[in-house]
């Protein structure tokens, strides 16, 4: 074994055994690496499938939201769409689709003039910090619109600068 370690004598009968041991470890290493890669791929594929189901659910909610309805059914449509978005957020937490769905729920609250609810949800949304696109800036714009709607014109004008600056550095 000492000879194997030092490798001082290539004619030693221990060397072929050492080579065999080396090959064995190499084979084990390669197999472990390939297995690890396969496991990673399987886990990734399963996560991907989950995210794709979430995206499909988001599309279904969007279809409710963009549906063409008569004026007297518009408010009902918005409420139905918000429920659909909230379901996506609840059913598929920690996905991009859930984050987009949360954003649209906020927007619908604003459109339904539920400004306190919308503002609270904006705080939570921004704190979470997970932004799949430019939704945080857009959430800030909704807050600006809430200030406007409440008649807080000066506050709104100041905040609008913050919104644009956030967009410029995005």
């Amino acid at each position: 074994m000492d000879q194997t370690l030092t490798g001082s004598d290539s004619l030693s009968p221990a060397i072929p055994r050492a080579r065999r041991t080396g090959w064995k470890w190499l084979l084990i290493g390669v197999t472990a690496w390939v297995l690890a890669m396969v496991v990673l791929q399987v886990v990734s594929n399963s996560r991907l499938a989950y995210h794709q189901r979430a995206a499909q659910a988001l599309t279904q909610a969007t279809l409710v939201y963009v549906e063409q309805v008569a004026a007297d059914q518009h408010e009902q449509k918005l409420r139905r769409a918000r429920e659909a978005y909230e379901s996506v957020a609840a059913d598929f937490p920690n996905t991009e689709a859930a984050q987009v769905a949360r954003f649209y729920s906020i927007r619908i609250s604003y459109r339904l003039k539920e400004w306190d609810k919308a503002e609270n949800d904006i705080d939570t949304f921004i704190e979470q910090g997970n932004d799949p696109d430019d939704y945080i800036v857009r959430a800030m714009e909704i807050r600006y619109q809430i200030y406007q709607a409440r008649g807080e014109t000066e506050k709104a004008a100041e905040y609008f600068h913050e919104v644009i600056e956030a967009d410029l550095i995005r």
């Binding site: 990673l40 004026a71 769905a101 649209y104 714009e141 004008a157 609008f160």
Partner: protein
């Protein structure tokens, strides 16, 4: 010899461990997460090259990660039937990204808000089709109208275009010679079967590839070097612009629709503050502020002249909205408040035009 073998072994083992660590990082820790060209493509809108416009939205449902809903016919917003239902007043809006309304959320792009507002005012049979496409200039919009949009038999057609036309204003050549062939970016498309296999099995590869192609695209100039342009505005292009607007009016009338021309609302004005100038993407049009203000004025003058010469219904959106800082994200894309303000204006004006026409 043995020393070389040992070094090679260490390198291979280190590489294998690094790749494994990279795979774990990109799949589970990295902010970008799991990516492939196919997934990245699904995040944005998919376009295809077109014959009558440089590119088109294909006829398939797209959601762009929940940002923009494009229906099965390739138009933003709710589905509509190709055949117009009896009694429906069908309105189409044609133009670029300001008509597509990139700053507006689904169901709130100004064309669809116009539809909702008109319904609230009792015009329940109005149906609006948003035919705006991001990046379209007046020639693209005209092409889209004569090669497809007319088949939907619109009763009224809105049209405005300015910013995307200014993009060719410094060209020394005619619009026909402009080299802007739509190409599919390798960032969003596999380049071969091997590329696809590697992207789908290794996130280290997919991310490195992404970095490489993004770097390569960043190095490309905004305007193709093959596209000859001068430092001065070539006002000969105004003739092209005028012709496009005139042809649009004639095309709409030829199919029995009422054309309604609009001026394009913009943040750009001679009175812009430094804060506002920061938001204007001068590099897209390669014009300085003075040139831009001048070009906008000339383009708007043409629209007003065509309106007067051809007796066209007209909404001067620029006069009402331009320069109002809170209505724009940048040079021309509307904020949500901007979309709502434009929708209020257009719905009011449309109601006036519609009532005038039905009362004879």
């Amino acid at each position: 010899m043995k020393r070389i073998k040992d070094i090679a072994l260490v390198v291979v083992i280190s590489l294998a461990v690094a790749i494994l660590a990279g795979e774990v990082y990109y799949r589970f820790i990295s902010a970008q997460g799991y990516i492939t060209p196919a997934l990245l493509k699904a995040r944005g809108l998919e376009y295809k090259p077109g014959n009558f416009a440089r590119y088109i939205l294909p006829q398939k449902e797209q959601t762009s990660r929940g940002k923009y809903y494009v229906n099965k016919l390739g138009y933003r917003g709710h589905d509509f039937s190709v055949e117009k239902q009896p009694g429906t007043i069908r309105v189409m809006t044609m133009g670029g990204s300001s008509v597509f309304d990139v700053g507006a959320l689904d169901d709130e792009d100004w064309p669809h808000r116009v539809e909702q507002l008109l319904k609230e005012r009792g015009l329940n049979n109005v149906e609006v089709i948003n035919a705006g496409i991001i990046g379209y200039n007046s020639a693209d919009s005209l092409g889209r109208f004569i090669a497809e949009a007319h088949t939907f038999k619109p009763d009224y057609v809105f049209f405005f275009s300015a910013w995307n036309d200014l993009k060719y204003f410094k060209s020394t050549q005619n619009l026909l010679r402009r080299q802007e062939i739509y190409t599919e970016s390798p960032l969003l498309h596999y380049t071969s079967g091997v590329d696809r296999f590697l992207c789908e099995t290794s996130q280290v590869y997919a991310h490195l590839r992404q970095e490489y192609y993004a770097w390569r695209e960043r190095r490309q100039p905004a305007v193709s070097e093959e596209f000859a342009h001068s430092n001065e505005v070539n006002f000969e292009h105004l003739k092209q612009y005028r012709l496009n607007v005139e042809l649009f009016v004639e095309a709409a009338r030829n199919i029995g629709a009422v054309p309604i021309l609009m001026t394009e609302p913009t943040l750009i004005s001679p009175a812009n503050t430094d804060f506002e100038k920061q938001r204007i993407k001068y590099q897209s049009v390669e014009l300085n502020h003075e040139q831009l203000c001048d070009a906008y004025q000339r383009v708007e003058t043409i629209v007003r002249e065509v309106v007067a010469a051809k007796q066209v219904d007209f909404i001067d959106a620029s006069k009402e909205l331009s320069g109002r800082t809170e209505l724009f994200w940048d040079h021309g894309h509307l904020t949500m408040r901007g979309s709502e303000t434009l929708a209020q204006l257009v719905s009011r004006e449309f109601e006036r035009i519609y009532k005038q026409r039905i009362s004879g």
